[in-house]
């Protein structure tokens, strides 16, 4: 099965001229990327847009992938940066008053196959996460949801681990408090 080929082999084949290998790489990691981006951006519509950008960027930069770090770490980095770029461009637009409609995060996930319970959990958590600053939310997602180490997160975001620990700690407190309010 094509999806069982290792990332490194797919990358080699792609760099050797096999464009199809890139499509396989996309299908293999599309859920992985969507999941991270969805949690950072907070809504399905943006997550789809950013996920596509991630893979377009990946296509352009794949030849620079040295294999020094895991491919997934690389994907984390691109996905995280692209998500933050989108959120930041929203801020710029609001700041410039170019987007008077004040387009806010919208949750338009409409997969009929997902269970109601999971949808509820997801929506509650999304709602709470949206109240966090972008950077704090990103750290929370990478640590709590993805279970990355502080060193890995620091590598992805290009910051020191010291600040991350404090950021995560405060995010945990905020999210917990907000969820308690919802459940009360």
């Amino acid at each position: 099965m094509a999806l069982e080929i290792s990332d490194n082999d797919l990358i080699k084949e792609f760099l050797g001229g096999d464009e199809q290998s890139f499509n396989v790489l996309v299908r293999k990691h599309q859920d992985f990327v969507y999941n991270i981006v969805r949690k950072i951006t907070g809504n399905h519509e943006d997550a789809i847009e950013v996920s596509q950008r991630v893979f377009v960027k990946l296509y352009d930069q794949l030849e620079t992938f040295s294999g020094g770090s895991a491919f997934t770490t690389w994907l984390y980095r691109i996905a995280t940066n692209e998500s933050l770029n989108l959120l930041r461009s929203r801020k710029v637009k609001r700041w410039l008053r170019l987007d008077e409609t004040g387009r806010e995060f919208r949750d338009q996930t409409s997969d009929p196959f997902e269970t109601v319970v999971e949808d509820e959990k997801r929506e509650q958590l999304d709602r709470v996460l949206r109240t966090l600053p972008d950077r704090q939310r990103t750290v929370f997602v990478l640590r709590m949801h993805e279970g990355l180490t502080y060193d890995e997160i620091a590598d992805i975001l290009g910051v020191t681990t010291g600040s991350l620990k404090a950021t995560f700690f405060h995010a945990v407190k905020k999210v917990t408090k907000a969820l308690e309010n919802i459940y009360e």
Partner: protein, 196 residues
């Protein structure tokens, strides 16, 4: 002081345990928990969050099928746009551009009042660097500013560094993809930079 450091260390150990990774000094963690209310409440919070955070987002069924096709379409569109720009990479164009630059410099140095308006649109699809970020329909109004933007602000490995460009307005140290700025936003940035 020591309590704060210890609590931070303990919290990290608790997180690592939650993620299923082994931690050294697990006995020390237990001992600490017995005496520290703050860390006990933290571990409770982590456990609750872990239940909720376990939910994974996957692409909805209809997106699963068409996602890679959409990515491929975007890639092909980008390739097509890029191929149009390759004319600027041809030696003849580069020589012509070099001549224009030389003539412009000579003109500038011999003229006390150079023409201040420079429209990037005139060099449509200028290739900036290996990341191929392009500027179309972008009007810049000051030659010196352009130099500043090229050298110091806009183009750092093909990305826009917010720390540098927006030191006042954004508390962030992430990079920004210049492709996502609209011409209006670029104009606004330029105005703000001029003020600085």
């Amino acid at each position: 002081m020591s309590k704060q450091i210890t609590c931070e260390h303990i919290r990290e150990s608790l997180e690592e345990q939650l993620f299923g990774r082994s931690v050294p000094d697990s006995d020390r963690v237990k001992q600490h928990l017995e005496s520290c209310e703050s860390c006990r409440s933290y571990v409770t919070a982590l456990e609750k969050l872990n239940e909720v955070s376990g939910v994974e987002h996957t692409l909805p069924g209809y997106e699963q099928v068409r996602f890679s096709a959409r990515v491929r379409t975007r890639i092909e569109e980008k390739k097509a746009a890029r191929s149009k720009r390759t004319i600027f990479a041809r030696p003849a164009f580069q020589i012509a551009a070099m001549l224009i630059i030389i003539v412009s410099v000579v003109f500038y140095m011999s003229n006390t009042e150079p023409e201040p308006v420079f429209v990037l649109d005139e060099i449509e699809h200028e290739l900036i660097d290996s990341y191929t970020f392009y500027y179309d329909e972008m009007e810049l109004v000051d030659d010196d500013l352009i130099a500043d933007l090229y050298n110091d602000y806009l183009f750092g490995d093909g990305e826009l560094n917010y720390d540098v460009l927006f030191p006042v307005y954004f508390d962030t140290d992430f990079y920004y993809d210049i492709n996502q700025l609209t011409p209006e936003e670029i104009d606004y940035i330029i105005q703000r930079l001029e003020e600085v």
